[in-house]
């Protein structure tokens, strides 16, 4: 058989088809694509993919066609024999847009029977997208052999898409196709159903009802998607605000340099990754695990230093504290700018944080998911710390009644310093997480400071649960407003709503009651 194929004479339909590429005529080329793709010849895939990349050379004089490989070696397309060089008279076979679609479809059907499951699935999906009638046979053939469930489903959908657009398909086949597409139920199925053109009455009716049900399910999914984005944004807000909830909420200190503690955490991550990159590249996946405690210590230590050197002189003068810490934030930003440069520094994602997975109709990225989990973990640990440790008890005592706590033998100034250090340290941890989704630049903290204050004020000062609820409410509200009003208007609307909300409830969602309010 091989010898027969190798004969230079025009021995079969495959060779005839290949020769047609040399005619430099678009309709001949289309025929040739059809013949080659359905031939089952092992050369079919290299030929078609060469055609797609403009590597298929045809010589109009000798009617010979050559495939130039990406490595520069060439073979005769009809026989597969290596040739020394392509003649100068040969030129690349030209394509137009219509042909490109046929080429895509041909490649799709050629890879339908690849041994690799992923390739088969991709091929089935590309046939679904192109839904070229010519691919029907290939899909049927592949469907008969297919054993993998998800590939089989994808093939079924591809077949349905083809049948829906095939003018001579029977009504029963088309009704089946509509039902299959309805089962798929995503944006693409919707696009196929709405754009299918003239159909028998029963099919149109079925399609209309399918479109309705797909649209309503898509609406639900888009709600789910918005809710997920909202949760994700909420977790970021919570992470940025949680340290502030301690310093502002529990201690009553307005720390405008809070954002800079977040920035310091992010830069700590950068430094850790730099060291790992240059010294121990194998540890890269653990870089964040190393950075978290380090960022806590660095930011926490700076926090204690700030409390001891500036803030302790300003207790009871909240407006002055605000100004002093604002000045501090300028100094810290400029210090980082001087040390690391004004541009963004690159912080990489470890492998377990990159990528995404599909859940129904929505895509969930791992880094967002991890950040959500991480935020909740930090929140839980903090809550437990305040509730069950001696330090937490002392902190609560000092914030509730400073003089009484002092009389009971608590070293209040030490507790102040530690509380402020704790809040700053948590901001540093937030910086580690935010370095994964945001640009690490000296301005990183600035972009979070107003949002963080909004969260704490909205949730209610002095209440960690309020901060949690506030962050997720704002996050979700923001993401639900975004599709309606646009990103910027949505944000403005949220700010205006918070301003109005504070008028109604000046102490936030979960206000402290009793004497502490006026203190």
């Amino acid at each position: 058989m091989l010898i027969a194929f190798a004969l230079p004479a025009h021995a079969g339909p495959f060779e005839d088809g290949v020769a047609k590429f040399a005619n430099d005529d678009f309709s001949d080329t289309e025929e040739a694509i059809g013949v080659v793709a359905s031939s089952g010849n092992k050369l079919a895939f290299p030929i078609i993919s060469a055609l797609q990349d403009g590597r298929l050379m045809a010589d109009p004089d000798s009617k010979k066609v050559y495939v130039t490989g990406t490595d520069g070696k060439s073979i005769d397309a009809a026989t597969g024999e290596a040739v020394a060089s392509v003649p100068d008279s040969a030129s690349a076979v030209r394509l137009n847009n219509r042909l490109r679609r046929s080429v895509d479809a041909a490649i799709g059907s050629l890879t339908l029977q690849s041994p690799d499951v992923g390739t088969r699935l991709q091929a089935a999906q590309s046939v679904f997208k192109s839904h070229e009638e010519t691919a029907l046979e290939a899909v049927d053939a592949a469907l008969a052999k297919e054993s993998n469930r998800s590939v089989k489903a994808a093939l079924g959908e591809a077949r349905a898409a083809i049948l829906l657009f095939k003018s001579d398909a029977t009504e029963v086949e088309k009704l089946d196709a509509v039902a299959t597409l309805k089962g798929r139920g995503d944006q693409e199925a919707l696009a196929l159903l709405t754009g299918m053109g003239d159909q028998p009455a029963s099919v149109t009716k079925a399609a209309t009802s399918a479109i309705g049900s797909i649209q309503s399910s898509l609406a639900v999914w888009s709600m789910v998607q918005n809710a997920w984005y909202g949760l994700s944004l909420g977790s970021v807000l919570l992470l940025a605000a949680i340290g502030l909830a301690i310093t502002f909420g529990v201690m009553g200190v307005i720390n405008m340099a809070h954002g800079e503690m977040v920035m310091i955490g992010a830069y700590t991550t950068f430094v850790v990754q730099e060291v790992i990159r240059t010294r121990y590249p194998a540890l890269f996946d653990y870089s964040l695990l190393i950075a978290v405690p380090l960022a806590f210590v660095v930011a926490g230590a700076i926090g204690v230093l700030i409390e001891r050197s500036i803030i302790r002189f300003l207790y009871g003068r909240p407006l002055e504290t605000l100004l002093a810490t604002w000045g501090l934030s300028l100094v810290l930003q400029q210090a980082v700018r001087t040390m690391f440069g004004p541009t963004n520094r690159e912080v990489g994602n470890p492998s377990w944080m990159s990528g995404a997975f599909e859940l129904g109709q929505i895509t969930i990225t791992y880094n967002r998911l991890w950040i959500l989990c991480f935020t909740l973990a930090v929140f839980a640990i903090l809550l437990a710390m305040l509730r069950y440790t001696a330090l937490g008890l002392e902190m609560r005592a000092v914030t509730q009644n400073r003089r009484m706590a002092a009389s009971m033998g608590i070293a209040t100034s030490r507790v102040d310093a530690l509380t402020f250090g704790l809040g700053s340290g948590i901001a540093g941890i937030a910086g580690v997480a935010l370095s994964q989704i945001d640009n690490v630049s000296p301005n990183l903290g600035q972009s979070y400071i107003i949002d963080s204050f909004m969260v704490v004020v909205f949730g209610g000062v002095g209440n960690l649960w309020g901060t949690l609820v506030g962050a997720f409410t704002l996050g979700i509200a923001n993401k639900f407003l975004e599709p309606v009003a646009g990103a910027v208007l949505g944000k403005i609307a949220i700010l205006v709503l918070i301003i109005l909300f504070i008028q109604k409830r000046p102490r936030g969602l979960f206000a402290l009651k009793g004497r502490a309010v006026e203190a």
Binding site: P318, L322, A324, W326, G327, V457, V488, K491, I499, Q503
Partner: protein
């Protein structure tokens, strides 16, 4: 304003201040226009524009001192009122360009032609008339402050909460004005001005006149503030600052007093912005940045809150320092200095320059008086409000 009120409201510091501002307002433009260029005493035009900018900042600082120093309202959003006044003036200046723009459209400003506006948005109507624009300079910031203050003060939003929501207000406006479809030129703002009231904005004479006008506005603003704080109303404001609840229990409608002074202050900031824009030649959304408003607060803190003179002085001193340091080799360290200024002033100089000087002066005067007349010190009237936290 009765002459009696005027004389009562002026003490020695205020008189010196007014004399200095008036002298600057007259002498600097005259020296710029009449003396030959390059002469030792001639003030170059760029300096006139620069000092004009400082005077506008001084008016803004005065506005902040009025509410912060005398009523305890720390607004971190006063830059918004300043910028709104500036935009109102900028809209007038844009309409005056007429057909001299790049696209030569007689009605639409260049950026609108560029953004495919078919007709002028309704809120641009009337800005071709100066009196209307001048009115809007007062009305827009005043109205925003009135609505904002009415909501905030009535529901007793005070202290840092108020500071934070004023900051949110200016941040929201910043985001809004950055949008192209908001109709105010988006990111680029309004610029490329040609005429104001028929005079070329770039001309030396116009600049000198604008400088003189800014000084005049500073004097008028100062007199208004003095009149307010030295009246009976001003005493109530100080009471609100020092003990808000107690003032309320004494029967005063605290929120009305606050609302009044907040609105007046916003109008002043608007005027400052309106005078600022023709002198610097541009207004863009970055004027709304929360950082600008906080910087304006620190001018007041440096000069001395609750002194009025100190606020204006602080604005000029800090901005002169900013110009001086950001133009030289020390430019990378300016933010360190500004940050350190914030920290050191709040920690070491809570009364500011003028407040500290006054305290020192009073003390030394007291000593001198005590030396001569042992019993006279007890009768000392309150001329400067005492800081109390």
């Amino acid at each position: 304003m009765t002459p009696h009120m005027l004389t009562r409201s002026l003490d020695r510091g205020a008189t010196i201040f007014l004399a200095v501002v008036a002298a600057c307002g007259i002498l600097i433009p005259l020296s710029n226009l009449l003396l030959p260029a390059g002469s030792f005493l001639q003030v170059p035009t760029y300096l006139v524009a620069l000092w004009g900018k400082y005077v506008c900042y001084a008016i803004l600082a005065l506005a902040i001192d009025l509410i912060w120093g005398y009523c305890g309202i720390l607004s971190l959003g006063h830059g918004a009122f300043f910028a709104l006044g500036g935009y109102a003036m900028g809209m007038y200046l844009m309409r005056q360009i007429g057909t001299r723009g790049v696209y030569g459209n007689p009605i639409l400003p260049d950026f609108m032609v560029f953004l495919n506006y078919s007709k002028l948005p309704w809120y641009w109507y009337g800005f071709d008339m100066f009196w209307f624009a001048a009115l809007m300079v007062l009305v827009v910031p005043g109205l925003l402050a009135f609505c904002f203050g009415w909501l905030a003060f009535r529901s007793r939003v005070t202290g840092v909460y108020l500071s934070i929501i004023t900051q949110a207000m200016t941040y929201a406006l910043l985001l809004a004005f950055f949008r192209n479809d908001f109709g105010f030129g988006g990111n680029n703002g309004l610029t490329d001005f040609k005429d104001i009231l028929g005079f070329n904005v770039q001309a030396e004479g116009t600049r000198a006149a604008l400088f003189a006008l800014s000084c005049l506005a500073l004097i008028i603003g100062f007199l208004i503030c003095r009149a307010i704080v030295s009246s009976k109303l001003g005493k109530v404001l100080i009471a609100v600052r020092d003990a808000e609840s107690r003032t309320r229990f004494l029967g005063y409608r605290v929120e009305s007093y606050k609302l009044f002074v907040f609105t007046v202050s916003a109008c002043m900031a608007g005027v400052a912005g309106a005078l600022y824009v023709p002198q610097v030649g541009i207004i863009n959304p970055s004027e709304f940045a929360p950082g600008n408003s906080i910087e304006a607060v620190i001018w007041v803190a440096v000069g001395g809150r609750g002194t009025l003179v100190g606020a204006a002085l602080g604005a000029v001193v800090v901005n002169y320092a900013k110009t001086f340091f950001t133009s030289g080799v020390l430019a990378p360290y300016w933010l360190f200095m500004l940050g350190a200024l914030f920290i050191l002033v709040t920690l070491l100089l809570p009364k500011g320059i003028v407040g500290t000087f006054n305290a020192w002066w009073d003390q030394s005067k007291e000593k001198r008086d005590a030396a001569t007349m042992a019993s006279a010190a007890a009768e000392d009237g309150v001329t400067e409000p005492k800081m109390a936290e």
